[in-house]
């Protein structure tokens, strides 16, 4: 298992719930939990993945996501069981959609 940490500056988002979860830690899948963090314009991402050695791809996927959406003020925790980048992007979108009530 590899643990990865990323931090981005981002526009603050407006949550409608205290936390949001998407996905399941199943084969080729992952779960994403979004919670608030103390800094309104920071996004902290922490990844635990069963597939070691894909740090640069994770960084690219998460950076791209953080650049497209206002995700400031969030702590995103990911438990991954070998999801592809497309699945990761989809689950990030689903979790953020639930966290912000569909506005992202």
């Amino acid at each position: 298992m590899e643990t990865l940490e990323f931090q981005f500056a981002a526009q603050p988002c407006k949550p409608v719930v205290g936390a949001a979860l998407s996905g399941v830690v199943g084969s080729g899948n992952l779960e994403i939990l979004i919670r608030p963090c103390d800094e309104a314009d920071a996004c902290l991402v922490s990844v635990k993945t069963s597939a070691a050695g894909f740090g640069r791809i994770w960084e690219a996927v998460v950076t791209e996501f953080a650049s497209r959406h206002p995700v400031g003020g969030t702590r995103i925790a990911i438990n991954d069981m070998g999801a592809t980048p497309a699945v990761v992007t989809l689950r990030l979108g689903q979790a953020l959609c639930e966290y912000t009530g569909g506005v992202s």
């Binding site: 936390a19 779960e31 069963s50």
Partner: protein
């Protein structure tokens, strides 16, 4: 029955493929579920972390309170997609805590959506102890007068210790797709050999462990379609007329007698087809092709 078949199919939530969270949302009254220890308040299993395996925040089981047909229930839903729904230390502790709460608060029932291969072997003794505590807690909850209904229709079925747990419940509701047994097909094949049981033969696996077989032999009480709404309707109906019986050793002895005589009658049979013929089905080869309603009708006609 007045909706067109196409509409039925698009509206239907296939229980077999659904996640635990979507089952909870579809089986219970809409919007009534309140989760205890939600993902943001819990931590993944430390045992899995030590082995370098990513855990799940809810450790593969969701517990909480809800209403079903307007009546208060407590709910357990195992997530079969995470480690085969296997029971680890936290997973088991959540189930036990929920059952003990039920014995104390006395809701109308506990709805237990079982989807599990049994003990989480990574957690070894902690998982084994957890399952034995779940068994005890199911019996204590029932002894307190609260029925526990097991719903078995997920991709992992109910195997190993969770097969026993399901049978300790007040009633078992299954779909054809569900499976219920002690040792799983792969375990039997690994231990005794492929001549004993071919776990790749899916039709055989279902003829020996599947919902239809369990319904015909009386190991499950109700058979429903692979549809979350069908599970919901069935449990609401069960709940309406249910009176949890007081524990009785005379009843247990009678049940033991019944099972012993069944074992004597069916010993040596190697396939569901043989069992169904032995219990009076004239054309057992038709049974795998039957829909749910025809099978229920067939069972009503069998000699008791």
């Amino acid at each position: 029955m007045n909706a067109s078949p196409a509409n039925d199919l698009t509206r239907r939530l296939r229980y077999f493929e659904a996640t635990a969270r979507s089952r909870v949302a579809a089986v219970l009254d809409a919007g009534s579920f309140h989760e205890f220890l939600p993902p943001e308040e819990s931590e993944p299993s430390p045992h899995l972390a030590m082995l370098g395996i990513p855990g799940a925040f809810d450790d593969g089981v969701i517990i909480g309170a809800a209403t079903l047909g307007g009546r208060p229930v407590l709910v357990i839903a195992q997530e079969g997609l995470f480690m085969g729904g296997a029971v680890g230390e936290i997973h088991g502790a959540k189930i036990v805590g929920l059952l003990r709460r039920a014995a104390r608060e006395k809701p109308a029932a506990v709805i237990f959506m079982v989807d599990s291969g049994g003990v989480r072997l990574h957690e070894a003794n902690a998982g084994l102890i957890a399952i034995s505590e779940v068994m005890r807690a199911v019996l204590e909850t029932r002894a307190a007068g609260v029925p526990v209904f097991a719903l078995v229709g997920g991709s992992c079925g109910a195997f190993g210790g969770m097969g026993i747990v399901a049978r300790l419940c007040s009633a078992v509701v299954m779909s054809e797709e569900g499976r219920l047994a002690l040792s799983g097909p792969e375990v039997i094949e690994t231990v005794v050999g492929v001549e004993e049981f071919d776990s790749k033969d899916r039709a055989l696996v279902w003829r020996v462990t599947g919902g239809k077989h369990r319904y015909l032999t009386g190991d499950c009480d109700e058979l429903v379609e692979d549809d979350a709404a069908a599970f919901r309707r069935c449990v609401i109906e069960l709940l309406a007329g249910w009176q949890e019986p007081a524990p009785s050793s005379a009843e247990l002895r009678a049940e033991q007698e019944r099972l012993t005589s069944r074992l004597r009658r069916l010993a040596g049979l190697r396939d569901g087809l043989d069992v169904w013929r032995a219990i009076g089905a004239d054309d057992p080869h038709q049974i795998p092709l039957m829909d749910r309603d025809s099978l229920v009708a067939l069972k009503k006609g069998l000699p008791t």
